[in-house]
């Protein structure tokens, strides 16, 4: 008889008592499938311990730097001007006008964060599992409404970033501009196809997820573009090269 999962697990983790361990070893000596399982589990465990760190994408620091600057400016403005008497919402509006470029990036971050917490495969905060048909129908309406809201948020952020990117495209070299255009076309096609899939099957979770992921991809690409334009305008060749290289790798 094969050892139970629990016993096998403890054997692999080397937490079994001496007697049980000896029993498993005796079984393994004559059971090739169990031996193969143990070998594989040990290897997975060993390789997992040696996984390397991943380097974050180059745009991650640019995003963070913009968010920090935005926050610094907000703190300075709040401390120095009569705007500190305004409501937080009013202060935010004024800040967004004064640092429009940075604010557009922050919108992207906010949208990304806002929708990131939605579980993959669904966009609703309603319970996923429901037994009553009436609840299913309500959840379905809720999913569609939230998807629509998410799409509007994404579209708003995309429109803002597109305006910035289009205005600054002259700063980009021909090859980079062409790569960006090609990538944007591919993503736009994915968005159109996902939209068609959602229209055909409004409650299909993969279709909804695909649409949201496509929007997210477009946001990330536009954000990279804006970061690249910013670096070039600042004359930061190293920063621009880092972002440009990332863009070309995606192309």
């Amino acid at each position: 008889m094969h050892p139970t999962d629990d016993v096998l697990n403890e054997f692999v983790e080397e937490t079994l008592g001496a007697t049980e361990r000896a029993e498993v070893e005796q079984h393994l000596a004559s059971c090739a499938p169990c031996r193969a399982t143990v070998d594989d589990l040990r290897e997975i465990r060993a390789v997992a311990k040696t996984l390397e760190f991943r380097e974050p994408p180059a745009r991650a620091w640019s995003r963070l730097e913009r968010a920090i600057k935005l926050e610094q400016e907000h703190l300075t403005q709040s401390a120095q001007s009569p705007q500190s008497q305004l409501t937080p919402r009013s202060r935010r509006s004024l800040r967004e006008i004064s640092v429009w470029l940075a604010a557009a990036a922050a919108v992207v971050i906010a949208v990304g964060i806002g929708y990131r917490v939605l579980p993959r495969g669904t966009t609703t905060s309603a319970p996923v599992a429901s037994t009553a048909p009436a609840n299913d129908a309500a959840a379905s309406v809720s999913v569609e409404a939230e998807l629509k809201a998410a799409e509007e948020h994404y579209q708003k952020a995309i429109t803002g970033l597109e305006q910035i990117a289009n205005a600054g495209k002259g700063s980009l070299d021909t090859q980079t501009a062409s790569t960006l255009q090609k990538n944007l076309s591919v993503i736009d096609q994915a968005i159109n196809e996902s939209r068609a899939a959602v229209r055909a099957q409004p409650t299909s979770e993969p279709a909804q997820q695909s649409l949201l992921e496509s929007f997210k991809a477009k946001l990330a690409l536009l954000q990279d573009t804006v970061a690249l334009i910013n670096e070039m305008r600042k004359g930061n060749d190293a920063g621009a090269a880092r972002i440009g290289s990332g863009l070309r790798q995606k192309g």
Partner: protein, 163 residues
């Protein structure tokens, strides 16, 4: 550049790979990992003044990052309205042909992203981040035995993906 931001960038360059890796693996996607990285370092920037040097900067940052990832996991779990993954019996031992090639790190890293949330979180904390089952249980708010089962389930699923 603002000297504070410059110093912060130096810290970011040094520590972001470790934190980004954990965030990606806990979240199960590079996109979500990047958002988490952003939030973690923004929070670190805000809290920098409260860092008293009682531990190393790396330890302080890692703790902050871990807590943030766990908040994310709890939030996602609440939205999914399920506290733990259902423990099924699909991982009973079945005869399988032995693999001829060793497991590549890159393949394993990619396969981890495809694991169900519950068992991936336990696997990442136990097998990659090095916490024991008791600690994993405390971090994830599950029983120690559940941590063991989830990690085993994750390994078996990874095995099925990588064979």
């Amino acid at each position: 550049m603002d000297p504070d931001v410059e110093a912060f960038e130096t810290m970011y360059r040094e520590h972001s790979p470790r934190i980004y890796s954990m965030a990606c693996r806990m979240a199960g996607s590079p996109q979500d990992g990047e958002d988490l990285l952003q939030e973690i370092f923004l929070q670190a920037y805000r809290k920098m003044a409260s860092f008293k040097g009682e531990s190393s900067l790396g330890t302080w940052l890692y703790r902050l990052a871990l807590n943030h990832c766990l908040d994310y996991v709890r939030s996602r779990r609440a939205k999914m309205n399920k506290l733990t993954e259902t423990l099924d019996a699909e991982h009973s031992v079945e005869p399988t042909a032995a693999r001829q090639t060793p497991i590549a790190k890159l393949d394993l890293d990619r396969a981890i992203e495809r694991l169900p949330d519950g068992c991936r979180e336990a696997f990442v904390l136990h097998d990659i981040e090095g916490f024991d089952h008791k600690q994993v249980g405390e971090l994830l708010g599950i029983a120690e035995g559940t941590s063991k089962s989830q990690v085993f389930k994750a390994r078996m699923k990874l095995r099925a993906m990588l064979v």
